[in-house]
C-alpha cells in the first residue's frame, strides 16, 4: 500500500512531538526524584522527619486550619515535631530529633524505584511503537501483528505506573501516622488511591490495540488477495 509523502511527513512530526513530550516528562521526573531522595532543601530550614497526609482532613481541621499541628513536645514543653495542615511534610526545629524506625521509608524507596523502572519501560515501549509506526508508513505495511501486543503491554505498564505513582507514599504515611496517632488532634485518613486516570488511559490503549488487531487481520487478507 503506497503512503503519500504528506501523510509520512505528518507521522514523523507527530512522532517527534511525542518524543519531545516524553523527554520533558523524563526530565521532570528526574528533577522530582532528585528532590525526593535528596531533601537538602528541608535540611537547610528544618529537619525533615517524614510524611503524613493531613490534606484529606483539611475540611475538618477547624482551629488547626491555618496553624501547624504540634504532634510531640520536648521536655520543656516546646513543639518538637509539627505537621503543616494540608501538607505532606513533618518537620522538627530540633536537628537532633530522629523519627523512630519504621518500615515506611524502605518500602517508599522500593515503590519509587519501581515507578522509575516502569516509567523507563513505558518510554521504551512508546519509542518502539513510534519506530514501528514510522517504518510502517515508509514501507506501506502499517498494520502488523506485533502492534496490538505492544499496545497491550503498554496498557499494563501504564496501569501499574499510575497506581504506584499515586500510592508511593501510602505505606510511609501509614507508618508515620501510626507513630504519632496518639498525639494527632485530627483523624488522618490513609488509604490506597486508584484514580480514574489509572483506568481510562489503559482502557483506551486496549481498545486501540483491538482496533489495530482487526486492521492487521484486514491487512493480511488484503495482502493475500491476488
Amino acid at each position: 500500500m503506497k503512503i503519500s509523502k504528506s501523510v509520512q511527513r505528518r507521522t514523523v512530526v507527530f512522532a517527534a512531538l511525542a518524543a519531545l513530550f516524553a523527554l520533558v516528562q523524563v526530565t521532570h521526573l528526574a528533577v522530582q526524584s532528585s528532590s525526593l531522595i535528596n531533601s537538602d532543601r528541608e535540611k537547610t530550614f528544618r529537619t525533615y522527619i517524614g510524611e503524613i497526609d493531613t490534606s484529606y482532613s483539611a475540611l475538618a481541621l477547624g482551629e488547626y486550619e491555618f496553624d501547624a499541628i504540634t504532634l510531640t513536645r520536648d521536655a520543656d514543653g516546646e513543639p518538637l515535631v509539627e505537621a503543616l495542615p494540608t501538607s505532606l511534610m513533618l518537620f522538627s526545629d530540633n536537628p537532633a530529633y530522629t523519627i523512630p524506625e519504621h518500615y515506611g521509608s524502605t518500602v517508599n524507596r522500593v515503590i519509587f524505584y519501581l515507578v522509575v523502572a516502569v516509567f523507563v519501560i513505558i518510554v521504551l515501549l512508546v519509542g518502539w511503537i513510534l519506530f514501528e509506526a514510522i517504518k510502517g508508513f515508509r514501507t506501506g505495511n502499517i498494520f502488523r501483528r506485533n502492534h496490538p501486543v505492544l499496545l497491550r503491554w503498554l496498557a499494563l505498564a501504564t496501569f501499574i505506573y499510575y497506581v504506584c505513582l499515586n500510592n508511593r507514599h501510602v505505606l510511609m504515611q501509614y507508618a508515620v501516622s501510626d507513630i504519632f496517632a496518639d498525639n494527632l488532634p485530627i483523624e488522618v485518613l490513609v488509604s490506597v488511591r486508584i484514580d480514574i486516570e489509572a483506568f481510562i488511559v489503559p482502557l483506551l490503549l486496549l481498545i486501540f490495540a483491538e482496533l489495530m488487531a482487526v486492521a492487521a487481520r484486514i491487512n493480511e487478507e488484503e495482502s493475500m488477495t491476488i
Binding site: E220, E221, M224, T225, I226
Partner: protein
C-alpha cells in the same frame, strides 16, 4: 478452503509455465504461486479476467467448489 484453484491443470492443458503466465498477466510469480497452491484468500475479478483471457478458458475451469466435510 472449499474453493479449489485448478490453475496447474489449465497451465498443463495450455502447455504454459507459471512464469510465462505471470509475465502475460502482469502479476508477480509469487502471487500466482500463492493462488496456485490454494493459499490465496481472495481473487479480484480483474485478475480472474486477465487469467481467463490468457488461458482462453472460463472461470469454472480454474475455480471449483468442493464442500468441506
Amino acid at each position: 478452503m472449499a474453493i479449489i484453484v485448478n490453475l496447474d491443470v489449465m497451465l498443463a492443458r495450455r502447455k504454459m509455465t507459471l512464469s510465462e503466465l505471470a509475465e502475460r498477466v502482469d502479476i508477480s510469480i509469487v502471487n500466482l504461486s500463492v493462488l496456485k497452491t490454494g493459499k490465496a484468500r481472495a481473487i479480484r475479478f480483474s485478475t480472474l479476467e486477465a487469467i481467463c483471457e490468457v488461458l482462453e478458458c472460463q472461470p469454472a475451469d480454474i475455480l471449483e467448489y468442493k464442500k468441506e466435510e
